[in-house]
């Protein structure tokens, strides 16, 4: 490869979008050519400056509601009506979910997991919708962890993973399959990640398995007597990194209250 052929691929190389063969050829050229490797560095530093500093415009409050109203062919649409219909819809959904849960007992782990995944996604989406990501907003693990005491009968491991790029946003209580779950909310770049945790003793730790639902990625695993379900619109690899970080960075085994 010479500088001319390399120049056209610099951006794709910096973005890790080249195939393996070309990547290796580029590696070799960049090793030998100072000019081209400086150019790659430039692309990378611009790219990370944009990611870190360019404002991300979040949708203004109320926009979701206005759109929600467009869907519901309802009569009047005051905020209270909206909330009531939303609650009714949520209640109906819950009722439906519980009927399904009773009438069609899960035949296999896999189909049970699928249903669980749907519930987890629904919980994740609800939290984003209602702007109810957290009950205890804090990036401090020592604030989030004690908050769960007295609210649930187990102690979820709350870890500071900021070194791995996961910012702790806070914690929340949710209800998954008729039991309470602790939800830790992390943010990775722009992506909120909900991590659902509840006690479930499978005897041994199980390795992580992935699922996709409605465009969301889910990753679940068992560790130290707890079930972990992570859900986000972030990539599978991101969730895997979170899972790895949590399991390589263990706190003392969580205790179950009497």
């Amino acid at each position: 490869m010479n500088c001319d052929s390399v120049k056209g691929l610099l951006n794709a190389y910096a973005d890790c979008e080249l195939d393996l063969v070309r990547t290796l050829e580029m590696d070799q050229h960049l090793h030998e050519c100072q000019g081209c490797s400086a150019a790659v560095e430039q692309v990378r530093s611009l790219s990370s400056a944009i990611r870190e500093k360019l404002p991300y415009h979040r949708a203004p409050e109320g926009l979701a509601k206005r759109i929600g109203r467009g869907v519901q062919p309802s009569t009047e649409a005051g905020p209270r009506t909206y909330r009531r219909t939303w609650l009714a819809a949520a209640a109906a959904l819950l009722l439906f979910a519980s009927i399904v849960g009773i009438v069609i007992p899960a035949l296999a782990d896999r189909s049970a997991n699928r249903q669980l995944a749907q519930e987890i996604v629904a919980g994740h989406v609800r939290s984003l919708m209602a702007e109810h990501l957290t009950d205890v907003p804090s990036s401090d693990q020592h604030t989030v962890k004690p908050w769960f005491d007295g609210r649930i009968d187990f102690a979820p491991p709350v870890e500071d993973l900021s070194a791995q790029g996961f910012t702790l946003v806070g914690g929340r209580l949710d209800y998954i399959q008729q039991h309470s779950a602790a939800v830790l909310v992390y943010r990775y770049r722009k992506h909120p990640i909900n991590l659902f945790i509840w006690p479930e003793d499978r005897g041994t730790s199980t390795s992580a398995a992935t699922l996709t639902r409605d465009g969301y990625n889910l990753l679940h695993w068992n560790d130290r007597g707890m079930a972990f379900w992570a859900v986000s619109d972030a990539s599978e690899q991101t969730l895997q990194a979170l899972s790895d970080a949590l399991q390589h960075n263990p706190t003392p085994a969580p205790t179950t209250a009497p």
Binding site: A12, L46, R51, P55, V71, A122, V125, M129, K190
Partner: protein
């Protein structure tokens, strides 16, 4: 379609939708109008969505993008950037300038101003790549472009950003 499905598929991507519309239209009021229109389109078109694109977010952003272009054309705010047609010819010319810019001296406002000066076709690939962290393939799907065009537009977008920022940094120092 049910309300629950709207909530699960359309609304979670509202921030991404709004962010893209904001950068493409250049202002918050127009962005809101466009997003509202796009969501209604999405809801009407929902029966046609079977999770075919790589994600609901891509599907949603495709609709936002198309709605924005319709809106830009209707409001005569859209003039295709010149030289778009020859973009496949010489990608090598899109390599960054050898001149180095100290990125630490670049702030959010300078970046936002520079992005706003890019042609809209460059702006969209840059926003999707850097703020939504999407792959070239996903961007190609959303914008309806060949992969090679995504690559060259992104290269040009970055090159122009560097030139614009270079001017600003120098202007700020002088």
């Amino acid at each position: 379609m049910t309300r629950e499905r709207v909530e699960q598929v359309v609304l979670p991507h509202l921030d991404a939708a709004y962010n893209l519309a904001h950068y493409l239209t250049g202002n918050p009021t127009d962005a809101e109008d466009v997003v509202q229109e796009a969501c209604l389109r999405a809801i009407r078109a929902f029966d046609g969505y079977h999770g075919g694109m790589s994600s609901a977010r891509s599907w949603m952003l495709t609709i936002v993008r198309n709605t924005t272009y319709t809106w830009l054309r209707t409001n005569r705010k859209y003039a295709p950037a010149t030289g778009m047609d020859e973009e496949m010819e010489n990608v090598a010319a899109d390599a960054p300038d050898p001149e180095q810019i100290l990125m630490q001296s670049v702030d959010a406002q300078m970046l936002a101003d520079a992005v706003q000066q890019l042609p809209v076709e460059y702006r969209e690939v840059l926003v999707l790549r850097e703020l939504e962290v999407m792959s070239y393939k996903e961007i190609a799907d959303i914008c309806g472009l060949p992969l090679g065009t995504v690559m060259s537009r992104l290269a040009r977008a970055r090159k122009q950003m560097q030139q614009l920022l270079g001017g600003k940094v120098r202007g700020g120092v002088a």
